[in-house]
Amino acid sequence: MNFQAIKAIYFFEMARTMRTLMQSIVSPVISTSLYFVVFGAAIGSRISEVDGVSYGAFIVPGLIMLSLMTQSLSNASFGIYFPQFTGTIFEILSAPVSFLEITIAFVGAAATKSALVGAIILLTAAAFVDLEIQHPVWMLTFFVLTSVTFALLGFIIGIWADSFEKLQFVPLLIVTPLAFLGGSFYSISMLPPVWQTVTLFNPVVYLISGFRWSFYGQADVSLWVSLLMTGVFLAICLAVIGWIFRTGYKLKA
């Protein structure tokens, strides 16, 4: 293992975050706080309780998941896309660094950044509502798994994209709708039966459900199904990345 190289790329990526502090850390916190004010305080005051939890507290896990997913995705995709755009990727590809190390460094940095954002949102939320975390270990498990999985997905998108438009396409048109429709702001049981079935095809449902369970012990689907689905999603991302490495897809001619 070339640990120096992993360190170099990781800190290079983290330095980029620090340079763009407003964009990377502050803006997601502000936008999530806005969600919180609008959905939690304004609308939430008209909804009494969901599954025995106040609406304000109910949406906290969903909000954190939403930002983990979008942040991991955009950080990782931009992180690997930009060197391709500028051409500086050449030095990483001609250095004694394996694809595995490249992935660990980029995905690790993206996951770290989104985890930071997630943690800040958790703390911000604690200022608005009373939070309880019934299963902290599971909470952390879902937290880390989601950051890493979506960073991997972002990494794939960043390699696939050959324009800034494509880079925005998947996060904006696929992941955001899936996250919104995945029960960030409501319980699946609040939907009509047909839509409950449709919703089960949305992979994000399982992530949010499991994560919310770790807070309040309430879930739309069972914990094990959530965990299994997260694992499946992770495995798919890893398989695609494995294929990219074997073929050099878009990276090497």
């Binding site: 290079f12 980029r16 500028t86 500086t88 030095e91 004694p96 394996s98 001619a253």
Partner: protein
């Protein structure tokens, strides 16, 4: 001594069928400066990129320092520094950070004194805290060279190092190549500028349409293929060439004041004596003689023309 780089029957066919390299074999000796010449699109950059691991070969093998670039890519790549032809730089990075970053990529611990020395050598020290996007094109080129040297490579690839740079930087590059050679670094450069190869290279390879068509010592190449030209300046204009001299190799200039004779300097009989004797016997007076060795450029143009 075994070569530091050995390329054996290397093939590269791009998706879409374009064959960029056709069974290229080439050995580079340790410590030499090797110039790879060829017209645009000849395969120079593909060859370098394949050796450096940026392009996956379709066939053949490459070793660097005895390490296979596919199976033992870590050991092989550690020996190599690459300055690409394009100037890809991370626009927002500081000069010193980007140079240190490359060292890290090659698995080496920080060595600030070395980075300082490299930046000073390349006149970049004053700019070390500037973001790269604020630098001029020439300065960016220097940054790329600094990056390529940050991990103390034994082999340095310079892909068109002086394309579009000013005279000062070109001289600096030449000086740098000389200095690195003294330190024992093997240098492979590609160039359009034949004068560059003439100035710096020990050996020259010519590539055209994906094939290496010639590799030789620069001096030997120039001797072997180099023809000499003798120009005789006449005192008075000459109407016609004296009889017996109107062969193919002898021409009279349009102003009728110069006779040019092209000959093979290596031949046993160059024909110079015969020409001069014949001229004086015919009473043609001349007041100066001038000989010129054909340059690598002439040789190169001839070679590429002959093969295409």
């Amino acid at each position: 001594m075994s070569p530091i780089i050995s390329v054996q029957s290397l093939d590269k066919t791009y998706e879409g069928g374009f064959q960029a390299l056709k069974s290229v074999s080439l050995d580079i000796q340790e410590g030499e400066v090797f110039a790879l010449l060829g017209p645009n699109g000849a395969g120079k950059t593909t060859l370098i990129s394949t050796i450096c691991g940026l392009v996956i070969p379709t066939g053949g093998s490459i070793t660097i320092g005895g390490f296979d670039t596919q199976k033992d890519y870590r050991a092989a790549r550690k020996l190599v520094g690459l300055v690409p032809q394009e100037m890809p730089t991370a626009p927002f990075e500081k000069v010193i950070d980007t140079v240190s970053f490359t060292r890290g990529l090659f698995g080496l611990k920080k060595k600030p004194e070395l980075i300082e020395e490299i930046l000073k050598d390349l006149s970049l020290w004053d700019k070390r805290n500037n973001p790269i996007m604020t630098l001029s094109g020439g300065m960016k080129r220097r940054v790329l060279v600094a990056k390529a040297l940050a991990h103390e490579p034994k082999v340095l690839f310079l892909d068109e190092p002086t394309a579009g740079v000013d005279v000062e930087l070109r001289r600096d590059m030449w000086r740098l190549v000389g200095e690195l050679k003294r330190r024992g670094v093997t240098i492979i450069l590609t160039t359009h500028y034949i004068e560059e190869a003439e100035e710096m290279a020990d050996r020259v390879g010519v590539i055209n349409r994906g094939e290496i068509i010639l590799v030789d010592e620069k001096a030997a190449l120039m001797q072997k293929l180099g023809r000499k030209e003798l120009t005789i300046e006449l005192v008075e204009p000459l109407g016609v060439l004296p009889e017996g001299l109107d062969g193919q190799a002898i021409t009279l200039s349009d102003d009728r004041r110069h006779i040019t004779y092209s000959y093979d300097a290596q031949a046993e009989r160059t024909g110079v004596t015969k020409l001069v004797t014949a001229l004086s016997q015919s009473g043609v007076r001349f007041h100066d003689l001038n000989t010129r060795q054909s340059s690598l450029e002439d040789i190169f143009v001839d070679l590429v023309k002959a093969k295409s």
